[in-house]
């Protein structure tokens, strides 16, 4: 093993190696890393300038702080509503645990944080706040759509020209640039009242029993918008996204929703660019 690789692994181990004793949420005080000797990690020895008396571990500790702060900041940038709902201190702790649970594996930090919603729902102390997971899903959907391109428009004329046997082979392509968030909680209300533009002095009461919401998160030009959809539309899009023939998708939908108007669903899905292409 090259000296360089050995050194990088030792430093990486130091940066990440302190698994907190538990994830119980009970000991959320900061772990005292200064008590750990650098030799325990095989960290490379350091030169000492005459003017200071910093121990090696203290110098390495600066990098550990930077690492945790930078990923925590990235997480807070993607999940500002969660941060606001749980408060800075709690967010700090959840973020630190998450960084250990699902470290960054991409040089593009915007890819970091994709499993935060699921992690939150299992996090000690948050079990009873089930809506947090769905708010986090909404924030991740917003983040993904913000970095995705706008969906293209389906060629309606070509679609109308399909005849005969070809129509039985018809399949739609559902835009991969949109996201669906279905929740039993009023997640969009929660998201809206926690936007920075809202007056922070005002208290808005949201009744969690207000009912659920199904939303398609999508781009509209330079905006990310939320479009409330019916349960029929959710199922329509989900079935089509499996890539089945349109005819069998219709059959499945009519089985579960005998009264639904498939023509209307299709028109709306094309108009809003949720269906971007087709093949037959």
């Amino acid at each position: 093993m090259s000296v360089l690789l050995e050194q990088q692994r030792a430093i990486a181990h130091f940066l990440t190696g302190h698994k907190s004793e538990n994830v119980s949420g009970k000991t959320h005080g900061s772990v005292n890393h200064l008590s750990v000797l650098p030799e325990q990690f095989g960290l490379p020895a350091l030169k000492h300038a005459a003017e200071n008396r910093f121990a090696d571990t203290q110098r390495y500790q600066i990098y550990r702080n930077n690492y945790l702060i930078s990923l925590r900041t990235a997480l807070a940038d993607t999940y500002p509503v969660i941060n606001k709902l749980v408060g800075d201190e709690f967010f700090y702790n959840v973020a630190r645990e998450y960084i250990q649970y699902k470290p960054a594996h991409d040089g593009n930090v915007h890819e970091f944080g994709d499993e935060f919603a699921g992690f939150l729902s299992d996090f000690p102390g948050l079990e009873t706040l089930a809506y947090l997971r769905d708010v986090a899903r909404l924030e991740w959907a917003y983040h993904e759509v913000f970095h995705a391109q706008e969906s293209t428009t389906l060629d309606v004329q070509a679609l109308a020209a399909i005849e005969g046997e070809a129509s039985e082979q018809l399949r739609f392509h559902v835009s991969g640039h949109c996201r669906l968030v279905a929740s039993e909680f009023p997640v969009l209300q929660i998201w809206r009242v926690n936007q920075p533009a809202q007056n922070s002095q005002a208290t808005t009461t949201i009744d969690l029993a207000d009912g659920g919401e199904q939303l398609v998160v999508m781009r509209q030009g330079l905006e990310v918008v939320f479009v409330p959809v019916t349960r029929e539309m959710v199922e329509f899009l989900m079935v089509l996204s499996e890539g089945v023939y349109f005819t069998s998708a219709c059959e499945r939908l009519m089985d579960s929703h005998p009264d639904c108007d498939i023509g209307m669903l299709l028109n709306e899905a094309i108009e809003l660019k949720w269906l971007t292409d087709f093949s037959c």
Binding site: G107, A148, H173, G176, R179, S279
Partner: protein, 321 residues
């Protein structure tokens, strides 16, 4: 400047030897509305990579086993995903030259070079036509795990050989010269055998890259490690320097002594302005960039800092002439 009178053209390719500022999402609208009087913009490459189409799915859940790619072959655009940030960058590019500055390539890492990352960078370069492309003399990942930080390398023959091959490979794959920036650091390895200024010079000589001299990083390291920042500046051959970075740092006082932390969250300090003046005297007219990454001020503050850099360079060049 009256921004409206400025012709909208994509022909301004080269970064002029004046001061530019970093482009941040918070300032997107202000930049396009005000078209401030700065010579160019630097964009952090990764902010514009975008997310690829990943199949329609419910947010927060794993994708179904269904593979959408077989359904409509070639039916959708496989090029660079143009997210909202890229749209703004293209607009800005219509008015200014742009430099792409990477923070996630992890050139100094012992992992294999991240080809998917490089591919995205190459697509972005193709789309934006930047005047300059730069990265760092540091590493940020090992065994596939990323730390989102610029971690220090020991300055050894092994590191030099490694960096030279990585920079060369990157330049080959991108088909263009890049600039490498000296990083700030809070420690020095005893294994280091080459002074930092000799290391960066050798890297440029052997790989054919240019240097992005961050004078704030030079100052931070000089204070943290006890060397003369002018020794660094004067040791680097002037013709190898293609760009200068300027930024603010934080002075932290501990019981054990003082440490300068490279925070990019405030104005450039007087000592760094003075070092910039000396650097311009040595390297001549090159583009300079005001870096500000957190606790972002109003756009006007960045423009003010850029004007100060222009004034210092202008006076210095005049004196030399």
């Amino acid at each position: 400047m009256n921004g409206q009178s400025k012709p909208v053209t994509n022909s301004m390719l080269n970064i002029p030897a004046r001061a530019g500022i970093g482009l941040r999402a918070l300032h997107f609208d202000d930049v396009l509305k005000q078209l401030p009087d700065v010579a160019w913009f630097e964009a952090h490459s990764e902010n514009y990579f975008g997310f690829k189409e990943s199949g329609f799915k419910e947010s927060g859940f794993k994708e179904s086993s269904f593979d959408k790619s077989g359904i409509i072959e070639g039916g959708f655009n496989n090029d660079m995903p143009a997210g909202i940030p890229l749209h703004y960058l293209e607009k800005v590019r219509g008015h200014y030259p742009v430099s792409l500055h990477g923070v996630g390539l992890s050139l100094g890492s012992t992992d294999p070079l991240n080809k998917p990352h490089l591919k995205k960078l190459k697509q972005l370069i193709h789309r934006i036509e930047p005047g300059l492309v730069s990265e760092h003399l540091s590493w940020s990942s090992v065994d596939g795990q990323y730390f989102n930080d610029l971690l220090p390398l020991p300055y050894t023959e092994e590191s030099l050989t490694h960096m030279v091959s990585r920079v060369s490979e990157t330049q080959d794959l991108l088909g263009r010269q890049i600039l490498i920036e000296n990083a700030s650091s809070y420690l020095e390895f005893t294994s280091s055998t080459i002074p930092e200024w000799e290391f960066v010079t050798a890297l440029a000589q052997q790989s054919g890259c240019k240097l992005l001299l961050d004078v704030n990083n030079i100052y931070v390291n000089a204070m943290n490690h006890g060397f003369d920042p002018l020794l660094f500046v004067h040791s680097v051959p002037a013709e190898m320097v293609g760009e200068i970075h300027l930024a603010g740092h934080t002075v932290k006082t501990f019981d054990e002594g003082v440490l300068l932390i490279d925070t990019h969250d405030q104005r450039v300090c007087d000592a760094v302005w003075a070092l910039y003046d000396d650097t311009v005297a040595h390297v001549g007219d090159v583009p300079a960039l005001i870096e500000w990454d957190s606790h972002l001020p109003a756009l006007a503050v960045l423009v003010e800092e850029a004007k100060r850099a222009d004034a210092i360079a202008g006076e210095r060049i005049e004196r030399i002439a």
